[in-house]
């Protein structure tokens, strides 16, 4: 079965709002997590990653939070823009080079202006 899943298949927000996309994982051995953005007809694009020795990591307009106690991961997008509309996937892996990513099913973010 899936070891990574997203709580909501779709999320609709207004332009300028902050968006929060959630993800739950079940493999306690996973210690590296990545968020990808996938636009229609394109491959997944790396957004931000976090290792299990961290609780929070910030990028440009994005923040990833990791709660290892409840095996929960979230992606926060500040001041969401129409260009943020896409499918967002979380992925997990064990911290060894070359091992496979395990993907969740994705959340479709729709931003209306």
């Amino acid at each position: 079965g899936e070891s990574v899943g997203l709580h909501l298949p779709t999320l609709s927000v207004q332009e300028g709002d902050n968006s929060i996309i959630n993800c739950a994982y079940s493999n306690s051995a996973s210690d590296y997590f990545i968020w990808y953005k996938q636009e229609s007809g394109k491959g997944p694009q790396f957004i931000i990653d976090i290792r299990s020795n961290m609780d929070k990591r910030q990028g440009q307009r994005v923040t990833v939070l990791l709660n290892k106690t409840v095996k929960h991961l979230s992606l926060q997008i500040a001041a969401t823009q129409p260009g943020d509309s896409a499918v967002y996937f979380c992925a997990e892996k064990e911290d060894q080079a070359g091992t496979a990513l395990i993907f969740g099913k994705g959340t479709t973010l729709s931003v209306s202006s």
Binding site: P44, Q45, D49, A97, G98, A100
Partner: protein, 114 residues
């Protein structure tokens, strides 16, 4: 797309025919991967390679074979295509040099098996 190209980008074929998809990278990364993406399943690993002539199976490897004769090229072959192999196929690469080994994806190949 991180110096990754895939060819063809679209292909329609008939059941029972052989199909080969190509992934080419210009990053000199050690690891290369083939995933398939299907509605309701997300991305699933088919095969991966950790060096020239070094490959291993992923979660959904049945019906697929791979080859890597050069660092930059990773081929995925469907020996006898079936309708269940209709999917979007993505190649990914990673350097494999550090523990946090981010994978970067190509643009994908949409394959339809009639």
């Amino acid at each position: 797309d991180a110096g990754i190209t895939q060819s063809p980008r679209h292909k329609v074929t008939e059941t029972g025919t052989p199909v080969t998809l190509r992934c080419h990278q210009t990053e000199n990364h050690r690891y290369m991967y083939w995933y398939r993406q299907d509605p309701g399943h997300g991305l699933r690993l088919i095969h991966y390679s950790y060096g020239v002539k070094d490959t291993d199976k992923g979660e959904v490897s049945d019906g697929y074979s791979v080859s890597r004769s050069k660092t930059e090229d990773f081929l995925l072959t469907l020996e006898s295509a079936t309708s269940s192999q209709t999917s979007v196929y993505f190649c990914a690469i990673s350097h494999g040099l550090a523990r946090t080994d981010t994978q970067y994806f190509g643009p994908g190949t949409r394959l339809t098996v009639l």
